[in-house]
C-alpha cells in the first residue's frame, strides 16, 4: 500500500524554496501532544520518501506542572532528500506551543529560522511560569527569526466546534492544528495523517473528527495566512530501493527478540522490572503473545534476571533487560549464568549516571561496567547497537552468540538509540539465517552417564540439556565446576583450567565476527573510532570534513568483547586515533591497554548526543 501514497499536493503559492534537508523541532507542554505531532510529521515524511532521523526529548520522569520549564517536552526530526545520519544539531524551524517551550528551545534555533508560535498561550501566567519578565513577542527577543504567530487555541476551538468534542478535549486537538500548518509549510502529504487519526481514534469518532478538522484548519490557515509567504519542499531521498518503515531502537530491539525466537524455534522469555528507558521493550513484547512471548514483570531486577536464568535452563530464549541501576543489581546473577554457561541476553539501555542520574538522557558510561562489572574472572561478550535500525539485526546476533556459545551476552543500547527513530529497510524475513539450536538428547559419557561440562571441540560450548530429557539429569550451580563432569571442585589446577576455558570460549567468538572495514579515506592520517549510538554523529561529521576537502577515516565497533580480529592491525595503520564517547573515555582505556596506541578522546557527559560540529571541530583541530 505504501507505494500508493499520495505525494504532497502542488504548493499553491509560487514562492517555494526547495531544500536538501530541514530540521524541525516541536516543543510544548507535556500535555500538548508534541510527541504525537512529531511522530505524525515524521511518518508522513517517511511515507513521502524522505530520509530522516528523530530525537525526542522528554521531561525527566516526574510530571512537572503545566507551563513550567521542566514540563517542556520536545521532538526533533531532520528530513532530507539524501541519506542523513542524525536528527541534526540545531533546528531550522521551531514550533513553540507556550512560553516555556520558547524559552527552553529558542537558543537552539538557527539564525533566520522559522518560528511557529501559539500566541494564545502567551499570557501573564505562562510568561511568568517560563520566567519571562517581558513578553518575548514584543520585546525584540524574536528579532532575526521568521515568526509565524498563530492563535492556535481559538482557531482549534473554532475548527472542532461541530465535531462533538467538548470541554477539556477541545484543546487536545491543538497539536493537530500545528501539524496541519507544518504540513502546508513543508509540503507534507496530508492523507497519511488523516488516515492515522481516523484509525487511531476509531473508537471515539468525535475525537478522530476533531483531530482531522484541526489538522485541516491548520493546513488552510497556512494557505490563507499572509504571515507566511515562503514554503519549503524537500524531495524524496534516493534511498536504496526497498520497503521502509520508521522505527525506534526499543521497538526494533523487541522485534529482533521476537525474530530470534522464530529463527531459533525457542520460546521467548523476557524477565524484567520496569525502568526508564528500557520499559518500552517490555511494553512492546507484552503485546505480542500470539508469538508465544512470555513476559514476566518481576518484583525486582534480580528476580528479572533470575527468572530468565531459570527459563534458559528450561530451554527458552531467555532475556532480561534494564538500565544502569538495574543492571548493577543483576551483576551477581549474570556471574552465575556465566559460571553455569547458560545462554542469556542481558539488555542495558544506558542512561545518564551515576546512581539515579539523569534517567531520560543518553550516555555511554556503562562500557567498562559491562566489561568488568562482575566479581571474579567473568568476561562475557558485549555488543553495542549503533542506531535504531541496527537494533533488529544486532539483537539477533546477540541471540546467536548466546545460544551457540552457551554464554550470557550483554547487549548495549542507550537513550538515543532506544527513543530515536530512523527509516529501516525491512529485511526479507524468509532470508534471515536461522539460529541453530541443538539440545542434548543422549548421554555423552561412558556407560550412559551425562557430562554437562564436556565441551564442543569447536565452540568450547557445553551441551544444553533441558529438564524433561530422560537420561540427562544433571546439576549445575555457582561453585567452581570440575571440567567435563561439572561436579563441584576445589582443585587448584581445575580452577585454572576452567577459568582459562571460560575465557577462551568467549575470546574464540572472534571467529564469528566479520573483519572491520574502514569508512572514508583509507589513507587518512586520522582514524575516528566509535561505538554505539555515536555512529551517526561520527559518520556525519566525517562526511562534513571530507566535503570540506579534509581527509579522515572512521571505524565503528558493534562488538566490544571480543573485538574484531583486524582491529589492532587497522589501528596501527593510522598516525592519530580519535575516540569520541559520551563518557570520560572508557573505550579509550580498553584500546590503549589492548593495543598500546596513544588514542585521544573527545568526551562529553552532558546528557545529550554529540553535535556534529563538536566532532568536526575536533577532527579539524587534530588534522590541521
Amino acid at each position: 500500500m505504501a507505494d500508493e501514497i499520495a505525494t504532497a499536493e502542488p504548493s499553491t503559492t509560487t514562492n517555494t524554496e526547495t531544500l536538501e534537508k530541514v530540521v524541525i523541532r516541536f516543543a510544548g507542554d507535556s500535555g500538548d501532544g508534541m510527541q504525537v505531532a512529531g511522530s505524525r510529521f515524521t511518518d508522513a515524511s517517511a511515507l513521502f520518501g524522505n530520509d530522516l532521523a528523530t530525537l525526542p526529548s522528554f521531561p525527566a520522569e516526574i510530571r512537572a506542572p503545566a507551563g513550567t520549564l521542566p514540563g517542556v517536552s520536545s521532538f526533533q526530526v531532520q528530513i532530507a532528500d539524501f541519506d542523513i545520519l542524525t536528527a541534526g544539531d540545531s533546528p531550522d524551524c521551531l514550533v513553540a506551543m507556550n512560553p516555556a517551550a520558547l524559552k527552553k528551545n529558542l537558543k537552539d534555533l538557527q539564525q533566520g529560522g522559522t518560528l511557529v508560535l501559539n500566541t494564545d498561550a502567551f499570557d501573564e501566567r505562562n510568561l511568568a511560569k517560563a520566567g519571562y519578565e517581558t513578553d518575548p513577542l514584543e520585546d525584540g527577543t524574536l528579532d532575526g527569526y521568521r515568526v509565524i504567530k498563530v492563535p492556535m487555541d481559538d482557531l482549534t476551538k473554532e475548527a472542532v466546534k461541530d465535531t462533538g468534542v467538548s470541554g477539556r478535549s477541545v484543546l487536545r486537538s491543538k497539536n493537530f492544528f500545528a501539524l496541519g500548518l507544518l504540513a502546508w509549510l513543508f509540503h507534507r502529504p496530508t492523507q497519511p495523517t488523516i488516515d492515522w487519526a481516523q484509525k487511531k481514534f476509531a473508537r471515539t469518532p468525535e475525537v478522530a473528527a476533531a483531530n482531522v478538522a484541526a489538522f485541516q484548519a491548520g493546513y488552510t490557515f497556512g494557505e490563507a495566512t499572509e504571515s507566511a509567504k515562503i514554503t519549503f519542499e524537500i524531495k524524496p531521498a534516493a534511498l536504496r530501493p526497498g520497503t521502509y518503515t520508521n522505527v525506534n531502537g526499543n521497538t526494533a530491539l523487541a522485534w529482533g527478540l521476537i525474530a530470534a525466537s522464530k529463527l531459533s524455534g525457542l520460546p521467548l522469555f523476557y524477565g524484567t522490572y520496569p525502568i526508564t528507558p528500557a520499559s518500552d521493550i517490555l511494553h512492546e513484547l507484552a503485546r505480542h503473545k500470539n508469538f508465544g512471548v512470555r513476559t514476566f514483570q518481576a518484583e525486582d531486577e534480580i528476580a528479572g534476571v533470575g527468572s530468565a536464568i531459570g527459563a534458559a535452563f528450561a530451554g527458552s530464549l531467555a532475556v532480561t533487560g534494564s538500565s544502569g541501576p538495574g543492571i548493577a543489581l543483576k551483576s551477581e546473577a549474570i556471574s552465575l549464568a556465566f559460571m553455569m554457561e547458560l545462554p542469556l541476553i542481558v539488555i542495558n539501555v544506558q542512561r545518564g549516571g551515576p546512581s539515579t542520574g539523569l534517567p531520560t538522557k543518553p550516555e555511554q558510561s556503562d562500557l567498562l561496567f559491562s566489561l568488568y562489572g562482575r566479581h571474579g574472572e567473568s568476561p562475557i561478550p558485549v555488543l553495542a547497537i549503533a542506531s535504531p535500525s541496527d537494533a533488529f539485526e544486532l539483537t539477533i546476533e546477540a541471540a546467536r552468540i548466546a545460544i551457540k556459545y552457551m554464554t550470557p551476552v550483554l547487549l548495549l543500547s542507550d537513550n538515543q538509540v532506544a527513543n530515536g527513530s530512523e527509516p529501516w529497510m525491512l529485511p526479507d524475513v524468509n532470508a534471515l539465517e536461522s539460529i541453530d539450536v541443538q539440545f542434548a538428547e543422549h548421554p555423552n559419557g561412558p556407560n550412559g552417564t551425562f557430562l554437562p561440562y564436556m565441551r564442543d571441540i569447536d565452540t568450547f560450548a557445553r551441551p544444553w540439556a533441558v529438564p524433561g530429557t530422560a537420561g540427562l539429569e544433571h546439576r549445575i550451580g555457582g561453585l567452581e565446576k570440575e571440567a567435563i563432569t561439572g561436579n563441584v571442585s576445589y582443585d587448584p589446577a581445575n580452577h585454572q583450567l576452567m577459568t582459562d576455558s571460560r575465557a577462551w570460549k568467549v575470546a574464540n567468538i572472534v571467529n564469528d565476527i566479520p573483519d572491520l572495514e574502514v569508512a572514508g579515506d583509507e589513507d587518512a592520517e586520522l582514524l575516528v573510532l566509535g561505538w554505539g549510538s555515536t555512529f551517526g554523529s561520527i559518520r556525519a561529521a566525517a562526511r562534513r570534513v571530507r566535503l570540506a576537502g579534509g581527509k579522515v577515516a572512521t571505524l565503528h565497533l558493534r562488538h566490544l568483547n571480543p573485538m574484531p580480529q583486524n582491529l589492532g592491525e587497522i589501528l596501527h595503520r593510522y598516525d592519530q586515533i580519535l575516540i569520541p564517547e559520551l563518557n570520560t573515555g572508557q573505550l579509550r582505556k580498553v584500546i590503549r591497554a589492548e593495543f598500546l596506541v596513544d588514542a585521544k578522546g573527545l568526551n562529553k557527559i552532558a546528557g545529550e548526543p554529540f553535535k556534529i560540529s563538536e566532532i568536526t571541530e575536533k577532527i579539524e583541530e587534530m588534522t590541521k
Binding site: 521476537i258 533470575g306 539429569e473
Partner: protein, 342 residues
C-alpha cells in the same frame, strides 16, 4: 508409556553427601527421595532449585535436574522454569536465611503469584553454612558469633509470613518425622500452585536441640499439635484442645470445654484468618506448636494464566507473523530508479 517403578536409590547421585554427621538434612533428603520414588513419575521431570546454604546443597544429592544457584534467588529462578515449562515438577530447597533473610522478597512474591513450585524451607533457626550466626527465625536473645550479647532481632513466624503473603498452601513439619513429612510432600505435590512447607531441621553443630520440645520423648507429647483435616484440634493425649475464643486460637483443657466448641481443622477455608490464628499458637518451637497443613486453597496458577493468555492471543490473532509485525507501523517503498515506476 507405563509409569517407571523406582526405589529411593534411583534418586540418589554419585556425589557423596557432605553434611555434618547427625544433621537433620539427611533425614529430609531420605524422605524426599522416598516420596518421589513412590510417585512413579519419570525422574527427568523433576527439577530441584536451591539457593546457598547447607540445605541448598540438596540438589547435588538428587538424581534429577537441579540447580544450586545463588543466595536467596531460588524462587525467582524457579518462577522462570515453571513459566517456561509448566509440565515439570519444580521444587525449591531453601534455608531460613536463604528464604527469609536475603530471599524474603522472592519468596513472598512467588507465593502471592501462586507459581507452581513446592518450597521446602529447612528451618534450623541458624546460618549453618557460614558457621553459626543468628537467622531471621532465631529466638530473640540468642547468642551467636554475630550476637555475642544476644540477638536483638524479633524473629519471623514463617507460617504467619506466608499466610500474610497470600500463600495458597502453607504447612509445617519436622525433619525426624518421615511419615509426617511425606504426607505433606504428597499434599503439596497435589496442590496446584505454590506450596510452602516449613520443615523444622536440627543443626546439631550450631543449634543442636532447637526442636527438643517437639522431638524429645516427653516434651513432644505435650507440645506437638497435629492439625488433621476434619478433626477437632486436640493434643497432649487429648488433655488439651484448641478453640477459637473471640477470634484468637486458644489452648484450653479439653475437660473445660464442650467438645463441639473445639475447633475442627479445615485448611480449605477461603479466608486465611483462622489459619493465621493457628499460626500464632506458637512463635517458634518452644511450647505447644501446630504441625500439619494450615492452608490449602485453590487459586489460578501464574503459569496457567500466562499460557491461557498466549493461547487466547494465538486463537484470536493467529500465530505471530514476523513479516506482518515489522511492517505493522506503516511502510513506504523506494523504487529502483532504473525500474520504470513513476
Amino acid at each position: 508409556m507405563t509409569a517407571p517403578s523406582y526405589t529411593r536409590a534411583d534418586f540418589q547421585t554419585d556425589q557423596e553427601v557432605r553434611w555434618c554427621p547427625g544433621c537433620g538434612d539427611y533425614t529430609i533428603l531420605a524422605s524426599v527421595q522416598q516420596f518421589l520414588a513412590g510417585l512413579g513419575r519419570p525422574r527427568e521431570e523433576f527439577v530441584f532449585v536451591s539457593g546457598i546454604g547447607c540445605a541448598a546443597r540438596f540438589p547435588y544429592y538428587m538424581n534429577t535436574f537441579g540447580m544450586h544457584s545463588i543466595h536467596g534467588r531460588a524462587p525467582a529462578i524457579a518462577s522462570g522454569i515453571v513459566a517456561s515449562r509448566p509440565d515439570l515438577s519444580v521444587w525449591v530447597i531453601t534455608g531460613d536465611g536463604d528464604a527469609l533473610s536475603i530471599g524474603g522478597n522472592h519468596l513472598i512474591h512467588a507465593l502471592r503469584r501462586n507459581v507452581d513450585m513446592k518450597i521446602l524451607l529447612f528451618n534450623n533457626q541458624i546460618y549453618g553454612l557460614t558457621k553459626g550466626q543468628y537467622s531471621p527465625t532465631s529466638e530473640a536473645g540468642k547468642t551467636t558469633k554475630s550476637s555475642p550479647y544476644g540477638s536483638i532481632d524479633y524473629p519471623f513466624n514463617p507460617v504467619s509470613l506466608a499466610l500474610g503473603a497470600e500463600a495458597t498452601f502453607v504447612a509445617r513439619t519436622l525433619d525426624m518425622d518421615r511419615n509426617h513429612t511425606q504426607g505433606l510432600l504428597q499434599a503439596a505435590y497435589e496442590h496446584e500452585g505454590s506450596a510452602f512447607i516449613e520443615i523444622y531441621q536440627n543443626c546439631n553443630v550450631f543449634n543442636d536441640k532447637a526442636f527438643i520440645q517437639l522431638t524429645g520423648k516427653e516434651e513432644r507429647v505435650h507440645n506437638r499439635i497435629d492439625l488433621e483435616t476434619g478433626k477437632p484440634i486436640v493434643f497432649d493425649g487429648g488433655a488439651k484442645a484448641v478453640v477459637m475464643r473471640d477470634g484468637q486460637a486458644t489452648v484450653v483443657d479439653s475437660s473445660t470445654v464442650d467438645p463441639k466448641a473445639i475447633l475442627v481443622h479445615d485448611p480449605t477455608r477461603p479466608d486465611p484468618a483462622i489459619a493465621f490464628a493457628l499460626s500464632r499458637l506458637s512463635h517458634g518451637p518452644y511450647g505447644p506448636t501446630p504441625l500439619g497443613i494450615f492452608r490449602d486453597v485453590s487459586r489460578p496458577t501464574y503459569e496457567g494464566q500466562m499460557h491461557a493468555q498466549i493461547d487466547a492471543a494465538k486463537e484470536k490473532n493467529g500465530e505471530g507473523d514476523l513479516a506482518r509485525l515489522i511492517a505493522s507501523q506503516g511502510t513506504w517503498t523506494v523504487k529502483d530508479p532504473s525500474s520504470n515506476g513513476g
